[in-house]
């Protein structure tokens, strides 16, 4: 192992986790409220889901590239990478929020309304608790996807473990590629297991 690789590994891993954390925080804070809103606005649902779907189908390297020339959100660096990661993470969370809330049993929803719940009480006391597990599963899937996709951030100067991978590719150095790929895979696994544990712990069934 080359000298300094360990300290660089630590630094880039932290950077990677930082990218993913910021992107997931923004995506979650956007997609869950948007999903809730879409359960109340059927007309809007098709458009927003369509947009999120299209974002999902754009090849990730291309999406990062497309963002660079855009004013404000574009350019080279971390913020562009985060915008791209957020766009990718939206769909799974949005879809699961919708599925979770719309999947609440009709009889349950109807008796909540019939017993005099306000719209807000219906949401907080019935719909969200019952949809929580499904929504969290969406966050988990999005997190795992984002950890992998974030390796591409290095291509536009976003940093993270992708730095190793691109450097290794350029210099045909397998050790460097592995130094990026293996930790990224391990982080993804750990995030998956960790969030699964939370799901099981708080919403068993």
């Amino acid at each position: 192992m080359q000298p300094g690789l360990m300290s660089e590994l630590l630094e880039l891993t932290l950077e990677h986790v930082g990218l993913v954390s910021v992107a997931m925080a923004i995506a979650t804070a956007t997609a869950i409220p948007a999903g809730i809103l879409l359960t109340r606005r059927e007309a809007l649902r098709r458009w927003v889901l369509g947009f999120a779907n299209i974002m999902q189908t754009v090849p990730s390297l291309a999406l990062f590239g497309f963002l660079i020339p855009l004013p404000f959100i574009g350019g080279i660096g971390k913020h562009t990478a985060i915008v791209a990661l957020v766009l990718y993470a939206l769909l799974p969370i949005l879809q699961n929020t919708l599925a979770g809330i719309l999947g609440v049993d009709r009889a349950v929803r109807e008796s909540a309304i019939a017993m005099g719940m306000t719209g807000r009480q219906l949401l907080w006391l019935v719909e969200l608790p019952l949809a929580a597990r499904t929504i969290l599963a969406g966050v988990r899937v999005a997190t795992v996807i984002t950890i992998g996709t974030a390796t591409i951030a290095a291509a536009i100067g976003g940093g993270g473990l992708g730095v190793f991978i691109f450097r290794g590719l350029a210099s045909v150095d397998t050790t460097q590629i592995l130094a990026g790929a293996a930790p990224a895979a391990l982080i993804a696994l750990a995030a998956d297991k960790g969030l699964s544990w939370v799901e099981q712990k708080f919403w068993p069934g």
């Binding site: 049993d105 009889a107 349950v108 109807e110 008796s111 909540a112 309304i113 019939a114 017993m115 005099g116 719940m117 306000t118 719209g119 009480q121 006391l125 019935v126 608790p129 019952l130």
Partner: protein, 269 residues
């Protein structure tokens, strides 16, 4: 003709505490029609429900009887005519207040799967901001009333209950805010015959003890004759017959005869 519609949530609370006429009927339908899309669900219904009586609406599936209940608690507003609850049109009630004023029991109970029995039964008092201790006492009292031992049942979840127990919890929940009026939408329809008879017996006992007014929807003519103080036959959106159970046995009309024929055909209960 205007469509039968869901009410729009209102922000302002109307103070209707002063509207408590004693002699007038609890519920009054005046030439009520309800139309959804191209379909007439109810046509020109007029009837009164007096305090303390149990009106059983009998009818086939799709006859419109559930719509009657939804018009009473303001889940739907009439396309034509007026539904009065305690003398006030449902359109003038704040929908939230109206619904907390009326207990509603549906088939399969519609219990909240993520709340315990105590959580389900105590929900309306909790929404009303009652103190914790009072809610606790109330829940215990209600469970005892529907013959479920509080210590044994209050911490259980709906999935841990039998169908009959769930339905009892549903009744306890509907009684929680001590509403003067209760609506039952085929509450015992999905139960086995033995449990159904048990719960029918309990319904009669509760009525004797509490003296609540009830509108009860069923397609079971036996149940209707057993529980009703008056039976209303709903057929294709019209109220064809409205009379006492004993008069109902002598009533005329094809639909009445069709239902009465079930009495002869079925010897199981």
């Amino acid at each position: 003709m205007a469509l039968c519609r869901e009410p729009v949530a209102r922000q302002t609370r109307l103070n209707l505490d002063f509207v408590t006429p004693t002699a007038s009927p609890i519920v009054s339908f005046r030439s009520v029609s309800c139309r959804v899309g191209q379909k007439d669900i109810l046509r020109n219904l007029s009837f009164d429900v007096e305090a303390g009586e149990t009106l059983v609406l009998l009818g086939r599936s799709g006859s419109g009887k559930t719509t009657v209940l939804k018009l009473v608690n303001g889940l739907l507003l009439p396309s034509e005519g007026t539904v009065l609850v305690e003398g006030t049109p449902t359109t003038a009630w704040d929908p939230i207040r109206l619904r907390r004023h009326i207990g509603y029991v549906i088939q399969e109970a519609g219990l909240f799967p993520h709340l315990t029995v105590a959580g389900n039964v105590g929900l309306v008092p909790r929404l009303e901001g009652r103190p914790q201790q009072e809610i606790h006492r109330r829940v215990a009292g209600l469970l005892t009333q529907v013959e479920l031992h509080p210590a044994e049942f209050d911490h259980r979840y709906p999935r841990e209950l039998s169908g009959g127990q769930r339905q009892r919890v549903g009744v306890a929940r509907a009684l929680a805010a001590d509403p003067p009026l209760l609506l039952f939408d085929e509450p015992f329809g999905a139960l086995d015959p033995i449990t159904r008879v048990e719960l029918q017996r309990q319904f009669l006992a509760l009525r004797r003890d509490l003296g609540k007014t009830a509108i009860f929807v069923t397609h079971d003519v036996r149940e209707a004759l057993l529980l009703a103080t008056r039976v209303g036959l709903v057929h294709q959106g019209r109220l064809e017959v409205l009379t006492t159970p004993s008069e109902f046995l002598r009533a005329q009309g094809d639909e009445v005869r069709a239902f009465l024929a079930c009495l002869d055909a079925k010897g199981d209960v």
